[in-house]
């Protein structure tokens, strides 16, 4: 297939996934912001939402303070934020138009309808219930796109490139959520864990839609180190770093077999998978959760670069 087509598929899948992640971040922040605040230095949930979405600087350049209005406008609609939901959907559709022939009708339909519907929301009027409606539209669109790809695409290079895009983005998003919240997950913080921390933990689970999964896996009350385990090492959890890399490695191997050639991206993915398979939470906490995650984000983005170099240019 054309390298540009592969590039477009990779990125349109990434941007649909990103739209979904940002919607979940807003959702989680909104819930947390409704919780009564204890004494002490209250964390600003809206600031941390911006940090999780990875766009602090762009936000500060535009707004004075982080609150529900400014953050939802920025994360959901702002044309100045390249990762705003509206921009993500716009870019996904632009890419989709450029590779119409590589998409199934159902996938195109999912992206095209999402684009039409997202545009019907007026940023100035999308609050409260309307915002909730907007966020579920975005999440449903991502589900629909994903489902359409899963159910209708041929299992060939086009499919694998779109999966790679989703998985790289998802691994990045999970790591960023952990990075912003790592301080509430550290074991020694457990003693100080008041109700506010509890809701922080739950909101992490919520932002990756893993609240129910957590209970199924651990059959325990919400504990921060178990959350970290679930999101980093648990291979049953589709958003965990380990699961993302299990699949990245698998699809990259499929590609290598299809084209008859291995390359740097296969090596990088396998190395990360091995690292995650051999890691334990104790070791990670000992050598530093924050450092671990920071390194992961850097290496994940290196893998994205390697895929681009090997196939997309």
């Amino acid at each position: 297939m054309l390298s540009r087509t592969a590039d477009n598929l990779f990125w349109l899948a990434r941007f649909m996934e990103r739209a979904d992640c940002v919607a979940r971040i807003i959702d989680a922040a909104q819930r947390l912001a409704t919780m009564p605040r204890g004494t002490g230095p209250g964390t600003n949930e809206w600031e941390s939402a911006v940090a999780t979405a990875g766009c602090v600087e762009a936000f500060k350049a535009k707004y004075d303070g982080a609150n529900i209005r400014s953050v939802t406008e920025f994360l959901a609609f702002s044309p100045d934020n390249p990762a705003s939901i509206r921009n993500c959907v716009e870019i996904a559709r632009t890419n989709a138009r450029a590779v119409r022939t590589a998409l199934t009708g159902e996938m195109w339909d999912a992206i095209n309808s999402a684009w039409y519907e997202v545009r019907t929301f007026d940023p100035d009027k999308t609050h409260g219930e309307e915002l909730a409606r907007f966020l579920s539209l975005v999440k449903e669109s991502a589900l629909r796109f994903d489902g359409a790809a899963f159910r209708t695409m041929l299992r060939n290079d086009a499919y694998w490139f779109s999966r790679l895009g989703i998985l790289i983005e998802r691994a990045d998003a999970t790591a960023r959520i952990l990075d912003v919240k790592y301080h509430v997950l550290l074991p020694e913080q457990a003693q100080v864990g008041g109700p506010l921390d509890y809701f922080q933990w739950v909101s992490i689970l919520r932002s990756v839609s893993a609240r129910a999964s957590y209970h199924w896996v651990y059959r325990d009350s919400v504990k921060p180190w178990l959350i970290a385990d679930l999101l980093i090492l648990n291979r049953q959890m589709p958003r965990s770093l380990a699961s993302c890399y299990e699949n990245l490695s698998r699809y990259l191997d499929d590609l290598a077999q299809f084209y008859g050639r291995q390359g740097n991206s296969q090596r990088l993915a396998r190395a990360m998978l091995t690292k995650l398979e051999n890691a334990s939470m104790e070791e990670i906490f000992q050598s530093g959760l924050h450092e671990f995650i920071g390194q992961f984000i850097a290496e994940n983005s290196k893998l994205g670069g390697a895929i681009a170099e090997q196939y997309l240019v």
Binding site: M1, L2, R4, T5, R97, T101, Y116, Y259
Partner: protein
């Protein structure tokens, strides 16, 4: 349940109505359609129309209007009442079209080699040599199988029972064929009962015909299964939907300039598996933009070195480079002469009488009769830069007069024709609206292929003669009946 008001062509008795004919009543081709229209309530028609629009939007069949940032993607209005031609009418038309395209190809071959038609004094040399779309790069250039125009769209208008005229020859990158195909798909989905009552000849084989045509013109050196690609300027081009539609239906790659590169005079596309050779390039990019080394150096749409690969005979470009000279509206006026000169035949289809403003006497006539005439730029398309005399106010006429005097050779003029009308669903019910027809003619090494029908464009505004989508025109499905 309210029935639509009875259809009448009363508002414009000067134009030939394709359903009612000159005498009123109904022409045979429309007998079943007229019955159906009479029996179908207006709200059902309206409902089906909105359904059609929904389908268009969903599939993403849109076009862009240049110079309108806001409406970057627009839906083309689709009229659900088909335009109908009889088998006999079509036979006549298709023979005339084949004859015309054959003569145009002979002209292009000649004008880039021996130039007999110029030497015979039939077409003036100045009109060719001084023409910006004449490509000296193509002089004495051998091209695969000597075919220049593989894909032509010839615009026809009808003014009476047996009167058809050729309005324009589109020999560069004619568009609209995706509408022809999608219109039929939508009609068959919405109105299966109509296809049971009327025996309509299919058009869907256009896709196979196009692929067969493109494969047939591959260079001799190409492998038995040549690699065909469609080249688009990109998603912001007004016809992008069509480019991707065709690539999808043909099962070939849709490439942009940046996907291609030339090495050792061979054209390759960049793929995830490395470079792959391209043998036939159906390009939907104008000459000016295809190779920055030869044509516009500022073009980022093209492929550096494409022309040298072409000149080395390693790739077929469809349509050939330099076909714009046959698309020129002043050259158009000589096509009947070309038919006589190259084929020794009488033209089966008439031209519209045309005044070439580059000639002094013609210009004088045009300036004196401007309010009656239609004036067009010789290289214009899409209805841009055109004057419709009878519809223009004094200020517009004066402005155009000045333009004409300033650069006469850039214009031609034609009488305002009373284009035929067809019943069309408008807000107030079913009313006559003016139409034209663009059939698509494919010329391969083996033969000419034309699917029965084409794209009918309709001027939706009452009394309007401008059918271009960029100027508020709509489209209809075009039926050629069996027999």
């Amino acid at each position: 349940m309210e029935l639509a008001a009875p259809y009448s062509n009363g508002s414009n008795p000067a134009a030939f109505d394709e359903m009612q004919g000159p005498e009123g009543g109904n022409r045979a081709a429309y007998a079943a359609m007229a019955e159906w229209l009479k029996a179908t309530p207006q709200d059902i028609l309206d409902y089906r129309r909105s359904e059609a629009e929904f389908i268009f939007r969903r599939i993403g069949i849109t076009f862009a209007v240049y110079g309108e940032a806001e409406a970057q993607e627009r839906l083309i209005p689709f009229d659900i009442i088909p335009r109908i031609l009889t088998g006999a009418e079509w036979t006549r038309l298709s023979q005339g079209l084949e004859q015309r395209v054959t003569a145009i190809n002979a002209f292009l071959r000649d004008v880039y080699s021996k130039r007999e038609i110029l030497r015979a004094g039939i077409v003036p040399e100045q009109l060719v040599y001084r023409n910006p779309v004449f490509r000296p790069e193509m002089n004495h250039q051998k091209i695969p199988h000597d075919i220049y125009v593989m894909i032509a769209g010839i615009d026809l208008v009808r003014t009476g029972q047996d009167e058809f005229y050729v309005l324009e020859d589109n020999t560069r990158v004619p568009s609209g064929v995706s509408y022809m195909l999608e219109n039929r798909e939508i009609m068959m989905r919405l109105f299966p009962e109509l296809f049971e009552q009327n025996s309509v000849r299919p058009v869907e084989n256009y896709v196979d015909d196009l692929l067969a045509t493109l494969i047939s013109v591959a260079p001799e050196s190409a492998p038995r299964e040549p690699n065909v690609a469609i080249m688009t300027p990109g998603i912001y081009n007004s016809a992008y939907y069509e480019h991707s539609f065709l690539a999808d239906k043909l099962g070939v790659e849709l490439v942009e300039g940046r996907d291609l590169f030339v090495k050792g005079n061979i054209v390759y596309m960049r793929t995830t598996e490395g470079p792959k050779r391209v043998d036939v390039l159906y390009r939907r990019v104008d000459d000016d933009f295809i190779d920055p080394l030869v044509f516009r150096p500022d073009s980022i749409l093209g492929v550096p070195g494409l022309m040298s690969a072409y000149q080395a005979g390693n790739i077929t470009i469809a349509n050939a480079v330099g076909t714009g000279i046959a698309d020129d509206k002043a050259v158009y006026s000589y096509v009947p002469e070309m038919i006589k000169f190259y084929l020794g035949q009488e033209p089966l289809l008439n031209n519209v009488p045309t005044w070439r403003c580059r000639e002094e006497e013609h210009l004088k006539y045009v300036l004196d009769h401007l309010p009656e005439l239609v004036v067009k730029e010789v290289h214009g398309s899409g209805g841009y830069g055109m004057l419709i005399g009878p519809a223009a106010d004094k200020a517009t006429l004066d402005k155009f007069r000045a333009k004409l005097k300033h650069d006469p050779s850039n214009f031609i003029a034609q009488p305002t024709l009373a284009l035929s009308t067809c019943p069309t669903l408008v807000d107030a019910g079913i009313a006559p609206r003016h139409v034209d027809l663009r059939p698509f003619i494919l010329t391969g090494r083996d033969r000419v292929r034309i699917v029965p029908g084409g794209l009918t464009r309709v001027a939706l505004k009452e009394g309007s003669l401008v059918v271009n989508s960029s100027q508020g025109g709509g489209i209809k499905d075009t039926w050629v009946l069996d027999g």
